[in-house]
């Protein structure tokens, strides 16, 4: 009886390990349009409304955590206003979420105006999903192909470029952030517009990007701003990103002046707390 139990347990374990390895191999080997990718997309499409509903239902919980964080950060001010805080606490809890949303949306509109993004048809979406593992820097927003979103379109928040669309469903889209190891952004840095490719410096670090392939003699220094390069007339392929979107600010330069120099930058956008984002649905300007 014991032997039978052990044999059964080991057989099931072996079967599941084999299933995992087969799935892994098949998924890794097939193209993005393959059967397993299709099943994954189909299941995600079905589950998106559930996730969106859960995200909205659980927003008060997130806001409550955010409220606690804000309270701790502003401890000094809270001390002075303790009496008033007690009276206003319940009201603040109700209004906090709306105020934060409003500010972020206003900031988004200001960025639109400052960068002239109005003609790139930005679509504002709410973040409904965030990958829990640092190995996949992805979020999902509640705007999809029904809103004109397509794969490859750039995504910004109220501060800067945050990533690009990598998967689109009817009512939602997956965005891969610029801190994901698969994302490379052509960029220009400093007043002279030195060209380079921006990519993550390492896995799991949302505050450090690196600009590679900049010429060794480039006169760059900490504090210089890095923007998207866009498409130049001599380019054989159009860039996914329009020119002039802010990315970050140079923090340090390793091996300066050599062929292996690495220009480190801190992204302007806080990629750990994203509520609202904008997808630029016409990154090359209005269609003629």
């Amino acid at each position: 009886m014991y032997d039978k139990t052990v044999r059964r347990r080991r057989a099931v374990l072996g079967l599941l390990v084999a299933c995992s390895l087969i799935l892994l191999t098949a998924y890794y080997g097939e193209s993005a349009g393959g059967a397993l990718h299709g099943v994954q997309r189909g299941t995600s499409e079905i589950l998106n409304p559930v996730q969106e509903g859960a995200s909205r239902a659980l927003k008060p919980v997130r806001d409550l955590f955010g409220w606690f964080g804000d309270t701790f950060a502003a401890k000094g001010q809270v001390k002075e206003l303790r009496a008033e805080r007690d009276r206003l606490r319940s009201e603040a809890l109700r209004n906090e979420s709306l105020v934060r949303d409003n500010k972020r949306l206003s900031d988004l509109l200001e960025l639109d105006g400052a960068l002239g993004l109005g003609n790139l048809a930005p679509r504002t979406g709410r973040v409904i999903f965030q990958s829990p593992t640092v190995w996949y820097a992805t979020i999902r927003v509640d705007k999809g192909s029904d809103d004109g979103v397509r794969v490859g379109q750039p995504v910004i928040n109220e501060e800067a470029l945050i990533g690009r669309v990598t998967e689109v469903f009817g009512g939602s889209a997956q965005v891969t952030l610029i801190t994901d190891t698969t994302v490379k952004v052509p960029a220009r840095a400093g007043r002279r517009g030195i060209f380079g490719i921006v990519e993550p410096a390492s896995v799991g670090n949302p505050t450090d990007l690196v600009m590679k392939f900049a010429p060794p003699g480039a006169r760059l220094s900490p504090g210089d701003r890095v923007l998207t390069r866009g498409t130049e007339p001599e380019d054989s392929h159009a860039s996914l990103y329009p020119a002039g979107l802010p990315i970050g600010e140079i923090t340090r330069i390793d091996n300066e002046g050599t062929d292996t120099q690495e220009i480190h930058l801190r992204p302007f956008a806080d990629l750990r707390s994203l509520d609202f984002v904008q997808i630029l649905t016409q990154p090359r300007g209005p269609r003629s």
Partner: protein
């Protein structure tokens, strides 16, 4: 060997689906000390401790697969790692039958660390070319600490969800053994007088 009644299977399915949805829709968006809690290894650990290695392994495989599908990640990675986590937790129950109230805390920490390390290893085997930074190590440690702190409540919630469907809940089994003078064949077969 535990028998799987339909009611238990339904509860496990609801627990897995609900856990992954809550994880992706809420907990992943709540940074604590620069990291997030990760419910999946804790859920799998709790099911392994409560139901045994077979159920823990199957539950880990299912949760991992569902997680990979929902997150649009490479299929098979999470399921392979969580399968091992669930099976390991189940074997701890079967081989040791630990009874301390802090056992979920220790096993939860071990499950989280195992999951993080094996997941990272799988990513490198699959060809992640970015270097490992201190930030990744720091985030892994922060997740480990947060998960360790919430391991006991998560275990309690899972036990509460599955309680009615568990044929031999460890606490009930121990209580029964205590009140009946022991269920071990050795204690029953030997007359100590």
């Amino acid at each position: 060997m535990m028998t799987f009644e339909p009611q238990l299977l339904l509860r496990l399915a609801a627990l897995g689906i609900g856990g992954v949805i809550v994880q992706t829709a809420a907990i992943s968006q709540l940074p604590i000390a620069g990291a997030n809690a990760d419910l999946s290894p804790l859920l799998v650990m709790a099911v392994g401790l409560l139901c045994g290695s077979l159920a823990g392994g199957c539950f880990g495989f299912g949760v991992g697969l569902f997680f990979d599908v929902v997150s649009l990640q490479t299929l098979g990675v999470s399921s392979l790692v969580l399968l091992g986590v669930g099976y390991g937790a189940g074997r701890i129950r079967e081989a040791r039958d630990p009874e301390g109230t802090l056992v979920p805390l220790a096993v939860g920490a071990a499950a989280t660390l195992t999951f993080a390390l094996c997941f990272a290893l799988m990513q490198f085997l699959l060809g992640a070319d970015a270097p490992v930074s201190w930030a990744l190590v720091r985030q892994t440690l922060a997740t480990l600490v947060v998960n360790t702190l919430i391991a006991v409540p998560v275990y309690a919630i899972v036990r509460r969800v599955l309680h009615a469907s568990l044929p031999d809940d460890p606490r009930r089994r121990r209580r029964r053994a205590y009140t009946t003078g022991g269920l071990s064949p050795l204690s029953r077969g030997v007359d100590l007088r």
